[in-house]
Each structure stands twice: as structure tokens, then as C-alpha cells.
């Protein structure tokens, strides 16, 4: 270590690694020592960041894994109370899927159209303002989005109204900015030559956008939307405020509380943090993480398989 002048992080020196020749002066040795120490510090920082990631995944898989069974996935919590170890997450899985689907139905068109506006039409002040505030909106706390839905529907319907639609609106507030930003990036990847070729053939602009721009970037757009879904599917706080928890399946998105996986995990933990509630919470957490990982894999697959960059 003492005679080595390269960074200790790896055996493969990059061009920037050109080892300065140190004089055997005190300052040269000090600089070399600082260099080595900092390389270690930076590497250790990365390793520290891996601790939560690995321990979390291990905990979820180990603790959640022992709960997973066909029964757990296909029963709801009707008639389960006290220390009963029966019951499962069927209703929560369905609720999560329904609410997320509804949120996607709201967010995807609005987000995509806004991205189209920014890339194809937007010039000047409005586009700049929109870009700025879309970025600002990505930082809205999820609980504020939930409160917004509560406040909105308290005025529109009534203060006691609770429904899947409310949750979907709250999630959309969080999802739309994500969709806009990533779709915008995908649309900007479409080469201008394609648009110009279409214009040269006399195709009107709107048809060019639909038939050329959107078709070219379709894989990227789908990937963006899938990733946005993966982002909001685990949101807890807005769902806690808007749909709470119930013990059975509720397929009516316009009326009544709906169970969802994140809130199910939280409420089981809150009811019984040392016994069977904890187990159910970890089981639900595992199901949720598997769903998110699947969405990420799907997104990767789509962007690999259909990406324009590779054609």
C-alpha cells in the first residue's frame, strides 16, 4: 500500500489514473497518504450504503417468506381477529391493483400529453414555467397529496366520503410529474429527421406526432409509465388518509374504503407489532416488493427489447 501510487479501489487503472510521481518529501508522502485515505473513505461510504439495502432485502425475504403461502395470497381478513393466524392479503392485492390502475388511467394520458406539449409545441414562458413546476411537484410530500384528495372530496362530495377514486386522485398528484419528466425525455430522443421527413411528405403535425413521434418512442413511453407505476404502488400515507383499511374485497372504486398492501402492512403492524400482525405485515411487504421488482423487470425488458436506440 505504501509504495503504490494508484488508487486502491481497483486493479484496472483508467487514463485519469496517471500516477503522479511523488518526491520523497514530507509533503509528497502526506499527499499520497491523504489520497489513499480518501479513496478508502469513498469506497467505505458506498459499502455503508449497501448495509441498509442488503439487510432490508434479507429481512423482507426471510421474515416475509415464511408467511407466503397460497392461503395467504388468496384469503382476505374477514372473520379474523385476535391471535388467529389465518387470513391473508387477497383483498389488499386487489385493492392495490385497482387503485394503481385507476391512478395510471388518470396520470398516463395527462402526463403524456403534457410531455408532448413540452417537446412538440411548448416554447417560451409557459413551457419553462411548466417544466419548473413539474419538477417542483415531484417534491410534494405524499401525505400532502393525500390531504389534497381529502380536502377536494370533502368539498365535492362530503367530509365522510371515502373511495378508491379519492386514493387514485391522490396518487395521480404524485404520479403525473414523474410521467411527464420521463416521457419528455423519451420524446426528445426521437430524431428530428423523422419529424422533418413526415412534414416533407405533407403529413400534418398532429398525425406526425401520433404516427411518427409516439410510435418511435412507444417502448420508452411504456417503460416510463411502468416505472412511474412502480413508484406510486408502494405509497402508503395518501392511502392511509383516503381509503384506510377494510377486511374484505371492495371492487367499487366509487364508494367505500379499500384495502391496499401498504396500508395493510401498516395496520397489521400497528395492531400487533410483536405477534401475528408483524408476520402479516412482513408478508404484505414481501408481496409489495415483489410487485415492484416485477414492474422494474418488465420496464427493463420493454426498453431492452423494443428500444429505438438498438434498431
Amino acid at each position: 500500500m505504501a509504495v503504490q501510487t494508484q488508487s486502491p479501489t481497483g486493479p484496472t487503472p483508467t487514463p485519469t489514473d496517471a500516477a503522479p510521481s511523488f518526491a520523497t518529501t514530507a509533503s509528497g508522502r502526506r499527499r499520497k497518504r491523504t489520497n489513499t485515505i480518501m479513496a478508502v473513505v469513498v469506497t467505505v461510504a458506498f459499502l455503508i450504503a449497501l448495509i441498509p439495502l442488503i439487510s432490508l432485502l434479507v429481512e423482507v425475504v426471510v421474515r416475509g417468506g415464511k408467511m407466503i403461502s397460497w392461503d395467504f395470497l388468496t384469503t382476505d381478513m374477514a372473520g379474523v381477529f385476535g391471535d388467529m393466524t389465518t387470513g391473508g392479503v387477497e383483498h389488499a392485492i386487489l385493492g392495490t391493483l385497482q387503485i394503481t390502475a385507476l391512478a395510471t388511467l388518470i396520470s398516463a394520458p395527462i402526463g403524456l400529453l403534457a410531455a408532448i406539449y413540452l417537446v412538440e409545441y411548448g416554447t417560451g414562458r409557459l413551457a419553462k414555467t411548466l417544466t419548473f413546476f413539474v419538477d417542483v411537484m415531484t417534491g410534494i410530500p405524499s401525505i400532502v397529496a393525500g390531504l389534497f384528495a381529502v380536502a377536494l372530496f370533502a368539498l365535492l362530495v362530503g367530509p365522510a366520503y371515502r373511495s378508491g377514486l379519492m386514493a387514485a386522485v391522490a396518487l395521480s398528484v404524485l404520479m403525473i410529474p414523474v410521467v411527464v419528466r420521463s416521457c419528455e425525455e423519451m420524446l426528445r430522443l426521437v430524431p428530428n429527421e423523422l419529424r422533418e421527413a413526415a412534414y416533407a411528405l405533407g403529413v400534418p403535425k398532429w398525425l406526425t406526432i401520433i404516427k411518427v413521434v409516439l410510435r418511435t418512442s412507444l417502448a420508452g413511453i411504456v417503460t416510463s409509465i411502468v416505472l412511474a407505476i412502480a413508484r406510486v404502488i408502494g405509497e402508503t400515507a395518501p392511502l392511509l388518509l383516503t381509503v384506510g383499511i377494510v377486511t374484505t374485497v371492495n371492487t367499487n372504486m366509487l364508494d367505500g374504503r379499500v384495502a391496499t398492501l401498504p396500508v395493510f402492512a401498516y395496520s397489521q403492524y400497528a395492531q400487533d407489532s410483536q405477534g401475528v400482525g408483524a408476520d402479516r405485515a412482513w408478508g404484505a411487504a414481501l408481496v409489495l416488493i415483489v410487485m415492484i421488482m416485477l414492474l422494474n423487470l418488465v420496464a427493463r425488458f420493454i426498453s431492452r427489447r423494443f428500444s429505438i436506440a438498438e434498431k
Binding site: M137, L155, P262
Partner: protein, 331 residues
């Protein structure tokens, strides 16, 4: 730009003169389509305004009512007295989280951008980004079952060893204090701070790096004299984005922190003591089930305060970042 023969594909402004040709077939379609996409854009801006407006509208009853009206819910505190300790707890938790997360993130971003071999940089960045994909409720479970028992003995040691520092004094197990919650918040904001810092570090002009190397700088000296000064404003805005996230995070705090008793008004600097703090977001999530009528209004008023704080923090962060690069945390 639009008269350029080969316009930069990244800068895809549709060539104006060319798109003017549609006097005939597609005119209606053009109008309709540009109208809908413009409307979507405006709808997004309107949503942001609506969030503020509806929160304000629902918070007004609490703001205008007297202390007696809300005393049942706040245990005798006025609205200001009720919200102020929550704001204090929120900001304190977020700041402790940043104190932990920012140095780590800078180091990790440097590792990815400057130290790691090219082959490793991609997977390393991906591993950090994975942290952002994990739902907050899972972080809450992890914090409660894994982290709290683990850090308890450490806090105990710190508290007894440094008991002369009031900030660290008087730890009592279990470690359901604001520092534990802040550690989880730190893990949660790590990906965004790292991602933004990394992007900025990667933009350091190659010539700056090569010039420092030519002058005989070591790898660390390149980082300290070329990369870090270049990325300073980026790191600041990344930290503020992280601050915004940490301020608004609900579940991790709700599940880990033992809050102060309802109706007490605490501004405690004892960051290792439990039952001394509470954050706005966790308080809303905890109280909303029993709340109705004016109580909901009180909670929404506290949510409005949170919204205002995070909005300002995010706007400053975005303003700094938008001056230099088209990068956002959304991708």
C-alpha cells in the same frame, strides 16, 4: 436553430417554418391536438394551485376559529402552539437526516463518478437507485424491527460517554427517538441526493480534470480542486431536494418515533430521548382517524404548513439546479 440542416436531436424544437404548411387537411386535427396537450400542461399547473387552494380552504375554519373551539382536539393549545412543535420536530428530523445522508451521498457520488472502474459504476449506481424503489412502509418495518434494536446499545454508549453534551444526554431504551427515525430518513433520501450529485460530478469538464492531473494532482486532489468546486451548487440543490423529501416523509417517522404526548408543546434538543418530538406528516397520519370536523381542519392547517415549507425548499433547489442542467430527480 430551426434553419439548421441537421438540428441537434436532443433539442427537438419542431422546425417552425415547416410546420406552417398545414392550411388544408390536418388543420382541425392540429388545433385539437395542440389544444389537448396544452390543456394537459395547464391542468398540471392548475393541480398545483388547487392543492394549495383546497388545503387553504379546508384549513380556514381552524385558522379563523378561537383557541376554545379547537381546545378539545389540541388539549388547550392554540393553533400556533399546536403546529410550532410539529414544525420544529419535522425540521429537526430532516436536518439530522441530512447531516447523515449528505456526506455519505457526496462520497458515494464521487465513488461512482470518479473512483469506481467504469464497469462497476453502472451497477453501483443501480444499487443505490434501488433504495429509492423500496416503499416507505417497508422502511418503517425495517427501522422498527431491525434498526431500532441494533442502534439501541450504540445510543446508550454515546449517551453515557458524552452525557456532558445536552444534545446527546438522557438516552433511555427503546431507541424510538428522533435520531433513529432520522437514520431511516437518511437512507430514504440517499438515492436522490446521490443521483443529483453524481450527475453534476459527471458534468465536470474533462479538461479541468486533465489539467489538474497534468499539474501532478493526486486522484483526491482532482476531486477536491476540480470536481467538488464545480459541483458545489449541484450538491447544494441535491441536499435541498433531499431535505424536501425528508421533511415530507410520513411512514418511517410514524412507525419508529414515539411522539410526545398529545397536548404537550415540546421544543427539545435531546435527540436521543424518545417521546420528545413529532413531525407534521406523522402527526397527521396518526391523528386523522379520530379527527372530524374542526379537528380535520386543524390537521389540514398543519399539512398546509408542511406543503408551504417543502414547496419553498423544492423551488429553491430546482431553481439552483435548473440554472445549470436539465436534470431532475424524476428520471
Amino acid at each position: 436553430m430551426s434553419t439548421d440542416v441537421r438540428p441537434d436531436p436532443v433539442d427537438a424544437v419542431a422546425p417552425e417554418p415547416l410546420s406552417d404548411h398545414t392550411k388544408h387537411p390536418g388543420r382541425f386535427g392540429n388545433r385539437l391536438f395542440s389544444g389537448i396537450s396544452l390543456a394537459s400542461g395547464i391542468l398540471i399547473l392548475a393541480t398545483l394551485v388547487a392543492v394549495a387552494a383546497f388545503l387553504l380552504r379546508e384549513a380556514l375554519p381552524a385558522i379563523t376559529s378561537s383557541t376554545q373551539d379547537i381546545a378539545d382536539f389540541t388539549r388547550g393549545l392554540s393553533l400556533g402552539q399546536y403546529i410550532a412543535p410539529l414544525v420544529f420536530g419535522t425540521v429537526l428530523a430532516a436536518i439530522i437526516a441530512l447531516v447523515i445522508a449528505v456526506p455519505l451521498s457526496i462520497a458515494i457520488a464521487l465513488f461512482i463518478a470518479h473512483y469506481a472502474p467504469k464497469r462497476l459504476a453502472g451497477p453501483v449506481a443501480y444499487a443505490i437507485d434501488l433504495l429509492a424503489a423500496i416503499p416507505s412502509v417497508v422502511y418503517g418495518l425495517w427501522g422498527f424491527y431491525w434498526l431500532v434494536p441494533l442502534v439501541g446499545p450504540f445510543f446508550d454508549w454515546v449517551s453515557t460517554t458524552f452525557s456532558f453534551i445536552p444534545l446527546l444526554a438522557d438516552y433511555a431504551p427503546p431507541a424510538k427517538n428522533i435520531t433513529s427515525a432520522a437514520v431511516v430518513l437518511a437512507v430514504m433520501v440517499l438515492p436522490i441526493v446521490t443521483a443529483v450529485s453524481r450527475e453534476v460530478f459527471l458534468q465536470t469538464p474533462r479538461l479541468h480534470i486533465e489539467a489538474s492531473l497534468a499539474l501532478g494532482a493526486t486522484r483526491w486532489e482532482v476531486a477536491r480542486m476540480a470536481i467538488l468546486p464545480f459541483g458545489r451548487s449541484g450538491v447544494i440543490s441535491a441536499s435541498m431536494l433531499g431535505l424536501g423529501r425528508a421533511l415530507g416523509e410520513t411512514m418511517a417517522v410514524l412507525m419508529i418515533l414515539a411522539p410526545f404526548a398529545k397536548g404537550s408543546s415540546f421544543f427539545s434538543w435531546h435527540i436521543l430521548q424518545s417521546a420528545q418530538h413529532q413531525t407534521i406528516a406523522a402527526n397527521i397520519a396518526q391523528q386523522i382517524r379520530e379527527a372530524h370536523g374542526l379537528s380535520v381542519s386543524v390537521l389540514i392547517a398543519s399539512g398546509l404548513a408542511l406543503f408551504a415549507i417543502t414547496l419553498v425548499v423544492n423551488m429553491i433547489a430546482r431553481w439552483i439546479v435548473s440554472r445549470r442542467a436539465a436534470f431532475s430527480g424524476a428520471n
